[in-house]
Amino acid sequence: MSETENIHNELGSIQIQKDAIGSIARQSTLQSYGVVGLAPKNLVENIRQLIKKDAKYGVDVAYAHDGLVIDLYIVVEYGTRIKTITSSIASSVKYNVEKTVGLPVRRINVHVRGLRISNMD
């Protein structure tokens, strides 16, 4: 799988790096209600994050034949409706990525990796 996605038009081609898409997805996730942070998707990423801050942290972007597949690994606030929050994250990430990048988003998988309990009732 390539690291960039090409869009061809009559003037030439545009290449968009996965990282760029990842950071848009990440930004839009962090602005969504109920999200308190992103989580490492695996051990390797966890260790890498300790050494160097990475824009893709918690976000995985892949190209399928008919569009983008984005995986998000998140931590949510305890006491919120996870179902509602995840679906609103998915729609706002889809909207923002499609609006800024112009590539269709086929799937968004939201993985809830933890809950943050900030204040017990």
Binding site: Q31, Y33, V36, E77, I85, D121
Partner: protein, 561 residues
């Protein structure tokens, strides 16, 4: 209590309920007033939903969340403010719908946390509770976006703190809160560019304000069941109706689509327009307003000039009504007259395969029609759009085709509205269900009765075979006329008349009273009339009716009842 009952309370009773310290009963009444006012303004809040993220309508989501919160406490009888607000928070969280619903539930959660187990609430505690509500709401997001419901709760909490120091009167603090909330909502476009682009204020913030406003209106004895401004979705604007009544001074119809400036005020705009012309309607959708007006010939450019000072014009349509009226009188195809529904009423959506059938459905009281039928099934999106465009929550859909039932069910599951699918597999079944509709009856009653109606009627369909096949022990050659009884092949013949006779026999017509023929676009009326005469001679005691159905493919759709 209903809105009317709430406003019927005397001033003394109202003031007693909200005099400090406020107990559980007082908070419950206030919550209900807030919920009712939000419900009344639901469509206004919905129409502010410019962000094209499909997470439902903000107004509807917030109402459902508040309703769940209220249901939780309605019969609880808790008199302790702290415990009651915990119950509210629990109900709101359980019933939270959409992003705005979750934020609202978090606001209640913070509110409850601050009140802890206090039996009553004074203004100081109100201020503390609102502050904690703000904290909890903000904690829910790493990068809070200003210009949203978050900003509004923040401004409200700040104001509450200031006011609580000034006065111990709950009523005064609430008045300050509402004022601060209004200012905050007005400010949202300055903080969030996307709102400014669309020329609206934030919908979640507006919804939250409605809740506090409702409490304030209740205390002041103002009605809770009449919105300040009526907002009509674009699809609801009935330009056809306006057309039919041309009076002197209504020579031209001008329709302008425009994006208003941030300072746009709908009521002022209405008033300014009323000086120019008549039949004024202003609709709103997706951040665009559509204005409709009738003006005398000399004034025909004034609405354009005027609207230009209020926003950016996207499109202008101008029509000479006098000329159009003459044309319309000659036209054979009158427009459909669909039934208008009000919020809270039951609306019927029917799928219709032809223009004639659409007219029949419309005359029976259908509120929306989706074109579609055999080989041209409407998409789930079209069905969903028809639900969303209706201003009510209670919708019944008649798919009228076996292949559309699934799509209708799917669409029904995707909307937040309450949609009942009546599994009608044919047009006669759909019509039969329509006859059972009682506009004033309860939604559930209507649905049950319409479901029963399906079995009242036998359906016959006459069409031409598209290929040679043997089904249900009947041998069919391509091009032959075939008759289907309740979807089952009963006969294959050379002529429509023969097929029709065979069908009527198969359907045990003698046991019924009435035969209605809906003829399609592939058959001539004289032929149908001859056929009807022939049927009359075979079944002299039956009532035979002929209607223009206009459906493709099927020469005849027959209802036997």
């Amino acid at each position: 209590m209903s809105a009317a009952e709430l406003t019927k309370l005397s001033a003394d009773e109202r003031h007693k309920l909200v005099s400090v310290p406020i107990d559980g009963k007082g908070l419950k009444t206030l919550l209900e007033a807030g919920m009712l006012w939000l419900k009344t303004n639901q469509q206004i809040v919905n129409s502010l939903n410019v962000f094209p993220v499909p997470d439902g309508d903000t107004g509807t989501n917030m109402v459902l969340t508040m309703q769940a919160a209220f249901d939780e406490i309605e019969n609880s009888g808790i008199d302790n403010v702290g415990q009651l607000s915990h119950a509210i928070a629990r109900g709101a969280l359980m019933g939270a719908r959409g992003n705005s619903g979750v934020i609202l539930s978090q606001i209640w959660r913070g509110f409850a946390r601050a009140l802890d187990d206090h039996p009553t609430m004074d203004v100081e505690y109100l201020s503390k509770a609102l502050n904690e509500a703000k904290e909890t709401a903000y904690k829910g997001v790493v990068r809070p976006v200003e210009g949203t419901i978050l900003t509004v709760i923040k401004d409200i909490a700040t104001q509450a703190e200031v006011s609580a120091k000034r006065t111990p009167s709950f009523t005064e603090v609430l008045a300050d809160i509402v004022e601060a909330g209004e200012a905050s909502v007005e400010r949202t476009p300055d903080l969030l560019p996307i709102l400014k682009q669309a020329g609206v204020v934030d919908s979640g913030g507006k919804g939250l304000l409605c809740i506090f406003e409702g409490m304030w209106r209740f205390i002041n004895g103002e009605p809770l069941d009449k919105p300040l401004t009526e907002v009509m979705p674009l699809s609801e604007m009935d330009l056809e109706d306006a057309l039919e009544t041309i009076e002197p001074g209504q020579d031209y119809e001008v329709v302008i689509d425009f994006t208003p400036k941030a300072t746009f005020n709908l009521e002022d705009y209405y008033e300014e327009l009323s000086k120019i012309g008549t039949s004024i309607q202003v609709g709103e959708g997706e951040g665009i307003y559509r204005m409709h007006i009738h003006v005398p010939q000399d004034n025909r450019y004034q609405p354009i000039d005027h609207t230009m000072t209020r926003g950016t014009i996207k499109k202008v349509m101008m029509e000479n009504l006098v000329a159009q009226m003459e044309e319309k009188n000659h036209s054979k195809n009158p427009r459909l007259k669909l039934t208008k529904v009000q919020p809270g009423e039951t609306a019927i959506v029917a799928v219709s395969p032809g223009p004639g059938l659409s007219r029949i459905f419309a005359s029976l009281g259908v509120a929306a029609i989706v074109q579609g039928g055999q080989t041209m099934n409407p998409s789930i999106k079209e069905l969903l759009a028809s639900f969303e465009n209706l201003p009510t929550e209670k919708i019944v859909i008649l798919p009228n085709n076996k292949n559309i039932i699934m799509a209708a069910k799917e669409a029904a599951s995707m909307t937040v509205k309450n949609v009942a699918v009546i599994p009608t597999i044919s047009v006669p079944q759909g019509l039969s269900a329509m006859f059972r509709l009682i506009p004033d009856a309860d939604f559930e009653e209507n649905v049950a009765s319409m479901n029963d109606a399906i079995h009242d009627v036998e359906t016959g369909e006459i069409t031409k075979a598209t290929r040679s096949v043997e089904v249900d022990d009947v041998q069919v050659e391509k091009g032959q006329v075939i008759a289907l009884h309740n979807g089952k092949l009963v006969s294959s013949t050379q002529t429509i008349d023969e097929a029709c006779e065979a069908l009527l026999v198969a359907a045990n017509t003698s046991d019924y009273e009435r035969v209605t023929l809906f003829y399609g676009e592939d058959i001539e009326l004289p032929h149908v009339n001859q056929l009807a005469d022939k049927i009359r001679s075979i079944y002299p005691d039956h009532e035979i009716e002929v209607h223009d159905g206009g459906q493709p493919h099927y020469q005849l759709i027959i209802a036997i009842e």
